[in-house]
C-alpha cells in the first residue's frame, strides 16, 4: 500500500514545473470505534480517510494546498492551487524543502498485525465489557457516560523534488471510560484510558478500576481553602505540564521571541532533578517514528539536562533562519505545512515511589484532573492557572477530596520548583514517558 502512496507522490512531484520545488505528503487510514451504553452498542463507526498535502516553493515563495482525497484529478488540482498560492506569498530566502542528509532512519515499525485480525464482535465485547466492569465496580457507581474502544491503522509517505522519499505505517488501539458516582444529590466523575499498538496492550481491568476509584473517591469533595501548597503530579499529569514546556522550546518561538526561555540557552531553567529528552527513535514510545514531518531521520534531542536548557528544536526552515541545522523536529499532518515540535518527550526517572513522594509532602494537593489547560496557560507570558480536582495531602497522608479549585504559578517558576521526581516512569498513550513529581509553592485557589 505504501508503494501506491509513493507512486502518487512521485507522479505529482514529476508534475512540478521548471524552477519549482514540490513536496507531497500523503496519508491514508482506516479505523473502527465502538461506544457502549447500557450494555448495547450506542454507536459503531467505520472510518476510512485519505489526505493529501502539497507544498510548492518557487522563487523563495511558499504556497500550500490540501485535500481529503487521493484521486488523481483532485491531486493535480491541489498542486495547481498550491502553485497559485505561492505566487501571493512574500519572498523569504529561508523557505526551503528538507534536503536528504544521508542519515538512515531508526529501525522502527510501530505496527501490529493484530489490529487487522480483530473482529468487530471482539471490539464490541471489549467496550461493553469495560462498561460492565465499571458499573459493577462499586455500589456507588450510578452510570457511565461513555465507554469506548477504538483502533485503526494508517500509512503515510513524503516525496519531494529535493530527493526525500520515505513511507511509514502505524497501528493503534485505545479505550476510555468516564464513570459517574452518586450520593444523595451529588455526582462525581472519574475518567481513565489506556492505549497501545493493538488491543492486547490495554489493561481493561485497570482502566475500570481507576475510573471507579477516582469517581468514588471524589464523592464529598469540597472547595479547599486558598493558600500555598505542594502539588503532586502523576505521570499523565506531568505529561500535560511538560508537553506545554516542550512546545515552548521550539526554535521558531525562540526566533520570534515568543517564549520566556528565548535567551536562556545553556542556562539553568529548571530543577536539577529534571532531564527531558525528545526521542522519537525510542521504539517504546507510541509516537516513535523513523522520520519527521519533512522526511528527515529522527534523532534524540536533549532539551533539558539536569535543569540546564540544552537545545531548542528546529525544522528545516526554522533552522535556516537561525543559522543552524534541523533537529528533525518537523511535526505536521498532511493537511498542514510543517511546524516545529517535540515528538516523544522522555523524562529521566528520579528516585522513590509515588507513595514516597506523597509521604514527603506536609501540605499539598494530589492532582486527579486538570481543567482549562487551553484557557489558563499562556506559553508566551508564562502565566499558568488551571482548574484542579484531587485530594489534599496532610502530613504525608492522602486526605479529603477537593474540587472547584485552581492551582497557579508561572511556567518558568514551576520548572524551578520541582522538588522531587519518582522512579515510576510510565510510557503513556500520548507517546511521552513521564514520572510522578512534586512541585512546591503553587497557589491553591479555593474559598
Amino acid at each position: 500500500m505504501s508503494d501506491e502512496l509513493l507512486a502518487l507522490g512521485d507522479r505529482l512531484v514529476a508534475a512540478g514545473e521548471a524552477g519549482e520545488q514540490v513536496e507531497v505528503v500523503l496519508a491514508q487510514g482506516t479505523g473502527t470505534s465502538v461506544r457502549a451504553y447500557r450494555g448495547e452498542v450506542e454507536a459503531f463507526t467505520s472510518a476510512t480517510s485519505r489526505a493529501l498535502g502539497v507544498r510548492v516553493i518557487v522563487d523563495s515563495r511558499q504556497g500550500f494546498a490540501s485535500a481529503g482525497s487521493h484521486d488523481l484529478d483532485v491531486a493535480i488540482d491541489t498542486l495547481a492551487e498550491a502553485r497559485d498560492n505561492a505566487s501571493f506569498a512574500e519572498v523569504d530566502p529561508h523557505v526551503a524543502l528538507a534536503d536528504p542528509d544521508g542519515r538512515p532512519g531508526a529501525d522502527i515499525d510501530p505496527w501490529s498485525d493484530a489490529v487487522a485480525r480483530m473482529t468487530d464482535a471482539e471490539r464490541i465485547a471489549l467496550a461493553i465489557g469495560l462498561e460492565a466492569k465499571v458499573l459493577g465496580g462499586d455500589a456507588r457507581i450510578t452510570g457511565v457516560r461513555t465507554a469506548s474502544f477504538g483502533d485503526g491503522s494508517s500509512e503515510s509517505a513524503i516525496v519531494s523534488s529535493s530527493g526525500i522519499r520515505v513511507a511509514g505505517r502505524q497501528s493503534h488501539a485505545a479505550m476510555s471510560v468516564q464513570a459517574m458516582a452518586g450520593s444523595g444529590d451529588e455526582t462525581s466523575t472519574g475518567y481513565a484510558y489506556d492505549g497501545g499498538r493493538d488491543a492486547s496492550a490495554i489493561d481493561v481491568d485497570a482502566i475500570a478500576a481507576e475510573a471507579v476509584e477516582r469517581a468514588v473517591t471524589m464523592l464529598g469533595a469540597a472547595k479547599p481553602d486558598s493558600g500555598k501548597v505542594a502539588a503532586v503530579f502523576e505521570p499523565r499529569k506531568t505529561a500535560s505540564l511538560l508537553g506545554i514546556v516542550g512546545g515552548m522550546l521550539s526554535g521558531d518561538r525562540k526566533l520570534r521571541g515568543r517564549t520566556p526561555f528565548a535567551d536562556r540557552l545553556d542556562e539553568v531553567i529548571a530543577s536539577p532533578l529534571l532531564t527531558l529528552i525528545d526521542d522519537p527513535t525510542d521504539s517504546r514510545s507510541l509516537s516513535a517514528d523513523s522520520h519527521d514531518g519533512e522526511g528527515l531521520a529522527t534523532r534524540a534531542n536533549t532539551l533539558i539536562d539536569r535543569g540546564r536548557l540544552a537545545t531548542f528544536l528546529y525544522d528545516t526552515v526554522t533552522a535556516r533562519r537561525a543559522g543552524t541545522v534541523s533537529t528533525s523536529s518537523a511535526v505536521r499532518s498532511a493537511r498542514s505545512t510543517p511546524g516545529v515540535g517535540a515528538q516523544a518527550l522522555i523524562m529521566h526517572p528520579g528516585s522513590g515511589s509515588l507513595d514516597d513522594l506523597v509521604a514527603g509532602v506536609d501540605l499539598g494537593v494530589f492532582v486527579y484532573a486538570l481543567q482549562g489547560l487551553h484557557s489558563g496557560v499562556n506559553a508566551v507570558s508564562g502565566d499558568f492557572s488551571v482548574g484542579v480536582e484531587g485530594r489534599m495531602i496532610r502530613q504525608g497522608q492522602l486526605a479529603e477530596p477537593i474540587r472547584e479549585a485552581t492551582i497557579a504559578s508561572t511556567l518558568p517558576r514551576l520548572l524551578l520548583d520541582i522538588s522531587a521526581v519518582a522512579d515510576d516512569r510510565e510510557w503513556l498513550t500520548s507517546g511521552d514517558a513521564m514520572c510522578s513529581m512534586v512541585i512546591d509553592g503553587v497557589s491553591l485557589g479555593g474559598s
Partner: protein
C-alpha cells in the same frame, strides 16, 4: 447559491438510503458535504503562507433501537456510497429488511442572512493586502509591540442531507474571519493580546469592520498587560463586561442543557425543567437564526431548520436542546441543534449562538457598587464537567476592582465555578447587551462554530485562580 443539489442526485440519494435500510434499519441518513477553505497568514512582518483546503465526502448512518451504525467515504460514486451504506448497516441490523423506497420531501427554511460577496470571487491579492494593513496598524500602536500575527480565513461548506423520514435539505454556509495576535515586550516580560471577528458572511465583512481598528484593539490589549499584576487567588465578586461573558453561560449551563448529556444523567440540569434555576432576571436563549452570527445557519446538519430556543426564561428552566435521535426517542421534534464538524463525524446536540439577554442595571453602577473584585473585559476559552457542573474559563483581559473603580490590569488565569450555583449568584445584569467574539466549541472531539453574548453582569462570587494572596 442554492446549488447544493448538485452534490448528489435524488436518485442516487434514494438508492443509497435503500442500501442503508437493506438490513432492517429503522432510520437511515445520508449526509454529503463539500467544503473549501482558504487562509492566509501574516507573521513576523511578511505574508508567510497561503493555504487552501478541500474536502468532499459522505457520512451514512443507520439506526436500530439504541444502536447507530456509521460509516463515511470520500468516494461519492454509487459503488463508494453503497459500500459505506452497507458498512453502516452491518452493525445496526433490524428485524425486517428488504427493499424500501423513500419519497423525498425538500425542506425549505429562511436563511439567517444572504451572503453578498462570495470570498471565492475575491482575488487572493486583495485578501493578503488586509493582512499587511493590520500588521502596520498593530505595530504603530506602540514601540513595545514586538510581534504581530494576522490571519485571514474563509470557508464555504455546502451540504445535502436526506433521511428515511423523507427529509431532504441542503445548506450553503459561508464564513469569513480575521484575527490579529500581538506580543508586547517590556521590563516585566512578554504579554499577548488578541482580537477576532467572524461572521456567516462573505467578503462584505470588511465593509463592516476595519482590520486596522481590530489590530489596534489586539495591540492595546497586549500593551495594557505589560503593567499587569498577578491576579488574586480565591473567591470574590466578578464583573464580566458586555459581549465578553457569553462563554461563561456556554460552559456554566449551555452544555448541561444538551439533551444527549441530560439523557445519560450526565448533567446537573437533568430532571429540572420547570424549576427556578436562576435569578428571575436571567433569560438564556440559543438562537441559530441570528443573522450573520458565527453559529447561524438555515439548516442544521440533520436537515432541521435552525431555531430560536429559549432555555431559561425569567430564571425558570424551560427546555433542553435536541438533535434528531434524542428527540425521536423522547417523542418530540428536534430543536435544530443537530450538528457535526464534517461528514466524517456523527451529529450530536450542539449549541449555536447562546446568549443571556439584557437586564436593567446601568453597567457603570455595577462596577461602582463592587467594593473589591475582578472585572473581566475579555474571556478566553472554557471547559465544563457537565456531570458535576464545575467549569473553568480563562480571562485574557481583566482588571482589579477596588472601591468601586477599575484599577490595575491582571495577568492571565482561569476562573472556576459551578454552573447551577453561578446561575443563582448573578446579582446584577446590565442593559448593554452585545455579542462576543466568534468561537469554536469542542465536544467529544468535534469542533463547531458558535457565538455567544451577554450584557455586563456580576457574579457575587467566583474563584479566581491567581497567585496573589
Amino acid at each position: 447559491m442554492n446549488d447544493e443539489t448538485a452534490l448528489l442526485s435524488d436518485d442516487l440519494v434514494q438508492r443509497t438510503l435503500g442500501a442503508a435500510l437493506h438490513t432492517g434499519g429503522e432510520f437511515a441518513e445520508v449526509f454529503v458535504e463539500d467544503k473549501r477553505s482558504t487562509s492566509a497568514m501574516f507573521d513576523d512582518g511578511k505574508v508567510e503562507e497561503l493555504s487552501s483546503g478541500r474536502d468532499r465526502g459522505a457520512g451514512i448512518r443507520v439506526v436500530v433501537g439504541e444502536t447507530t451504525g456509521f460509516a463515511h467515504t470520500a468516494d461519492l460514486s454509487e459503488t463508494g456510497l453503497v459500500a459505506a451504506a452497507q458498512a453502516a448497516a452491518a452493525t445496526a441490523k433490524g428485524g425486517g429488511g428488504g427493499t424500501r423506497t423513500i419519497d423525498l420531501d425538500r425542506q425549505s427554511a429562511t436563511r439567517p442572512n444572504e451572503v453578498q460577496v462570495l470570498p471565492e470571487t475575491i482575488a487572493k491579492a486583495t485578501k493578503v493586502e488586509l493582512l499587511g494593513r493590520a500588521d502596520q496598524a498593530a505595530r504603530d500602536a506602540g514601540p513595545a509591540i514586538s510581534q504581530v500575527m494576522a490571519r485571514y480565513a474563509d470557508s464555504r461548506r455546502r451540504f445535502l442531507v436526506a433521511n428515511s423520514d423523507g427529509v431532504l435539505a441542503g445548506d450553503d454556509q459561508v464564513r469569513t474571519m480575521f484575527s490579529v495576535s500581538c506580543v508586547a515586550s517590556g521590563d516585566t516580560g512578554m504579554q499577548t493580546g488578541r482580537e477576532t471577528i467572524g461572521r456567516t458572511v462573505g467578503f462584505e465583512l470588511f465593509d463592516e469592520y476595519d482590520v486596522e481598528e481590530l489590530a489596534r484593539t489586539a495591540a492595546n490589549r497586549a500593551l495594557t498587560k505589560l503593567a499587569a499584576v498577578p491576579a488574586p487567588s480565591g473567591e470574590m465578586p466578578v464583573v464580566i463586561g458586555k459581549g465578553g461573558g457569553g462563554v461563561l453561560f456556554h460552559e456554566a449551563c449551555g452544555h448541561g442543557l444538551e439533551a444527549d448529556l441530560v439523557g445519560k444523567n450526565a448533567s446537573v440540569f437533568a430532571d429540572r425543567v420547570g424549576e427556578q434555576v436562576a435569578n428571575r432576571s436571567v433569560t438564556i436563549v440559543d438562537d441559530g437564526t441570528m443573522p450573520t452570527e458565527w453559529g447561524a445557519y438555515a439548516f442544521d446538519d440533520e436537515g432541521r431548520a435552525g431555531q430560536r430556543n429559549t432555555l431559561i426564561e425569567n430564571g425558570i428552566l424551560t427546555d433542553y436542546m435536541w438533535d434528531l435521535l434524542r428527540a425521536r426517542r423522547a417523542g418530540r421534534a428536534s430543536s435544530g441543534n443537530g450538528r457535526r464538524q464534517g461528514y466524517q463525524y456523527l451529529p450530536m446536540v450542539r449549541m449555536t449562538n447562546t446568549y443571556l439577554g439584557n437586564g436593567t442595571d446601568d453597567p457603570d453602577d455595577i462596577i461602582a457598587s463592587t467594593e473589591r473584585g475582578v472585572f473581566v473585559a475579555q474571556l478566553g476559552g472554557g471547559q465544563v464537567n457537565t456531570a458535576t457542573g464545575d467549569f473553568v474559563f480563562g480571562m485574557t483581559e481583566a482588571y482589579l476592582i477596588e472601591n468601586g473603580e477599575i484599577t490595575a490590569p491582571l495577568r492571565e488565569g482561569n476562573l472556576i465555578g459551578n454552573g447551577p450555583e453561578v446561575l443563582t449568584l448573578i446579582d446584577a445584569l446590565g442593559n448593554d447587551f452585545a455579542m462576543g467574539s466568534p468561537g469554536t466549541c469542542g465536544k467529544d472531539g468535534q469542533g463547531v462554530p458558535v457565538g455567544d453574548g451577554t450584557p455586563t453582569l456580576r457574579v457575587a462570587k467566583l474563584t479566581v485562580g491567581g497567585t496573589a494572596a
